[in-house]
Structures are given as structure tokens and as C-alpha cells.
Symmetry: C2
Amino acid sequence: MDVRQRIDEAMERAMARTKVPGAPPLLAEAMRHALFPGGGRFRPRLSLAVAAACGDDAPAASDAVAVAIEMMHCASLVHDDLPCFDDAETRRGQTSVHAKYGEPLAVLTGDGLIVLAFQTVVAGAAAVPDRMVRLLDLIGEAVGTPRGIIAGQAWESEPEVDLAAYQRAKTGALFSAATMAGAVAAGGDPEAWRRLGESIGEAYQVADDLRDVVVDPDEMGKPGGQDAALGRPSAVAELGLKGAVKRLEGLLADGVSSIPRDCKGREMLRDLILKEAQRFLPKDLAKNAA
Amino acid sequence: MDVRQRIDEAMERAMARTKVPGAPPLLAEAMRHALFPGGGRFRPRLSLAVAAACGDDAPAASDAVAVAIEMMHCASLVHDDLPCFDDAETRRGQTSVHAKYGEPLAVLTGDGLIVLAFQTVVAGAAAVPDRMVRLLDLIGEAVGTPRGIIAGQAWESEPEVDLAAYQRAKTGALFSAATMAGAVAAGGDPEAWRRLGESIGEAYQVADDLRDVVVDPDEMGKPGGQDAALGRPSAVAELGLKGAVKRLEGLLADGVSSIPRDCKGREMLRDLILKEAQRFLPKDLAKNAA
């Protein structure tokens, strides 16, 4: 089965809970709108690629991890798009959740996705209970405070910000969780996969900062120029355009070189990362970085 | 140790995660503001009382459940107070989280508390892994969709609402989880404790509807008249004042009578519930209901 199809089918299974009789239908619709059609699904694809490299002997657990990580990511996007944050009308080329369903349902959609992500891991890892606790720990840390996405977003409300800590939390943490939890789901050693996730996460954040400056909104599917407009920390503001591109190249190279040498899926993973770099980079910068 | 002290100390232990070096300090402050000094802590006290009645042989798990349930409750209050919901400036007699820390941190405080609640259960139930999965299931169901708090709040955005389903989800679900998870934490049978939680939850919601109509804001610690002003479903609107009081009395009696006969802590639980009824009811209605 195609990986994208595997992710979407696993997500549909997890979403079944939202559509049973007696469930509020607009919340189910809004949660679906946040998850589908989705962006590149890079985090869950990365997670499944690492699980595959580690043998993928408990595919239900691997699926659950991939879905949970994507749900956490989507939850953060929905809340990040709220009027009190970015006030974004569009996301992934379609109307943002709050613009389509109103702010109250957008708040609840994010909340609901966070809860459903945990429920998905509990259900999916039931057959490998010894791995479940570590998976829940990894995902909780990637999302909560002090070093997860929520902490990352919270740094935007602080008077003083450490750019590296901010980006590690806001973006890097979920990528590290994607690689490390992908490994744990398949019985692998999470530490062997930490650096890959961290490097890609940092690279992704730098790419996002670059996109915010140089890409037109139609290509991005969301408004541009937000970092400068909102005075947010940004790699471009700190390092300049060239410096940011150089940093990004170094991070990708670092990530690829950290893939364990004895890993069967090494080539596949390398290809995934470089292909993804082409996708998430501004088109006119992609050639240099790859 | 006093139960209130036990709850607050367990909560402090769980909150330690928010204050480590590198954590965004305002988020930690806002999360603390949402949890302390707290209201009556009725849900965690109920949960611990049921755990005690079932032997409380794994106190770290009982503590974790009590704390997690209170955190989920506080998270829902913080989000419910946001401008896009009730726009409440006060809560529990102090400034609401969004009024004090701004909307972005209020959204993130709710998110952070949801995540921390799950982390608290995972950490606290580590010594009784066979119970952990059931605890996570119970708490997830009490909070998520289709029948938890988030679904309950979402019903307020639906064009048509079933009052009973709405109240069960918005308030009852967490009370059921308090009694049932309290039992599971101590190795008890959750089903024997479902009706107690359901009855108290319904009674509490009816009392809340009554308070919204007849109590002055200073006594409540939050603004009154919100249900009518926002056109929200309410037991008072449906049954009238007298009808709502009668319903509340019936629910409390039903709850007390459902406590298992062979339970050692029966008298203690009965006293807790009736004392609590005095506290959460409008003063001039409390005598009749008790």
C-alpha cells in the first residue's frame, strides 16, 4: 500500500470515534476539515519510514504514532490560525477552521484533536503495552511544556526569546518525536533516531521562515509576511536570507548523515528527506539546498 | 493528610514539569493561575473518596487520576472563558486567564493542561500498568468527542441541541470519570461507580443553571445571567425554577442510593456529596435540596 494511503486510512479509523450517533456533527466536520486533505504529511511519513527501517513488527502501533503526530500538528495549526494568533483565513489552500466554522469550534477542534491523538496511541499500541508508555511519553513531551509545540507557541508571548529553544520546541520537537516514536513503535532504539528528527525539524523551521519571506501566498496556501508583521523571531531576521539558506543546507546534510549505517531503509529515508526538502523549500531555493 | 492538601500537593508535583529551566515562564504562570487556588476541588475529592472506598492500594495512581481530572476541568474553564465563548473577565473570584495573560496564552494554557493531564496519568500509574490503559480510556472519553467535555461545549455551536446529551457531555462525563477512574486506580470495578458519577454530574449542571439565574456574581466568582444572554440550553429554561430544583433533589438522592451497599466508605461519601450540595447550590435553595 502507498504510504500516503496508509496514513489516510489509519486517520479515518481514528476519526471513527468522532462520527458515532450522539456526537456533535459540526465538531466532527471541523476536525475532519483540519486533517483532510492535509499537507505533505511529512511527519507521519517520516515516522512510518523510521518504523519500516526498524522492522515495523507492530504496524497498528506505527500507524497510531503516525496519526497521533499528524493530529497534534494539525491541532497546533488550527490554534495558531486563530484570530488571537496569526488570524489566518486560509491554510493548506483552503479556508482555515475558524474562518469556516467560527472561533469556538476552532478552539474545540484543536482540543479534540489533542485528546484524540492520545486516544489513538492508547488504542493502537494495545498489543505492545511495553512500548505504549514510552510512546505516550515521547508524544506528550513533543507537544506539552517545557519543550513541546505548546511551549514553542508560548515563547511568542514572552518578552525575551531564545530563537534556538523557540524553534526546537515549536517545530523540532514534533519531528524528533516522529523519528523516535516511529522507532519505539517498531521496537527500535529511539536515541539512535533523535538527531535525524532534530535536524529535519530545525531545517523545516528555517525553510518555513524562508517561505514566509520569499514565497507568494498562493504557493504556500496561507498568508505570507507574518513573521515580520507580528515581530516574531525568524532565522531570516537573525541570519539574513543567504545565511538562512546555508544553515538549512547544513541541517539537512547533518540529518542524512545521522541515519544509522546498518539501517536497511537508509536509502529510502535519504530519498524521502531530500525529496521533501524540494517540496517544502521555496521553489527558487530548492535546487541549492538539495 | 487532609484531602485538599493531598490534592494540592499532587498537583504541585505534576506541575513541576512546567517550571524546569528552559520552559516559557509566562505559560507556567498562566497554567498555575488556572489551577490555583482552585474552586472546591469537588471532582478530585470525589475521585479520591471513591479510590479510598475501594482500598486506595496504589495512591500514586489515585493522585494522578484526581489531578488529571481537575486539570481537564480547569482547561475547559479557561477555554470556556475565552472571548469567543463566555468572554468572562473573572473566574473563581479572580481575573480569568485570558483577562490576565491575554488570549494566546489562555488558548495555550488550556492545551497545556490537557497534555499535562495525560502525562500525569502515564507517570502516576506507572506502577500499575494494567490499570493505566483503562484510566487513560476513561479520562479520554470524559474529555474528547463524542461524549466528553469538548463535545459538550461543541453542542453550543450546533443548530439543534439535545439538553440531556449536552449536559451529560459538558458536565456529567467528567464526574462519571471521577468516580469510575477513582475506582479503577484502586483496582475496583468502575461500573459499580458509574451511576454515582452520572447523578452528581447531572445535579451539578442543574445547580449551575440555577446559580446562573438566582445567584449574584460576587457569590459565584463569575458573571451571571450568561445562559439566557447567550441563548444557551438550561434546565431552568426547560423546567422552570421549581422544576429544576425538584430535578436536582431527585438526582442527588439517586446518586447517594447508588453507592454500593458493601462499601466501607459509604457514610463518608454520602456526607461528602450532601455537604458539597450545600456548597454548590445557591444559598437560599440549599436547604430544600439537602
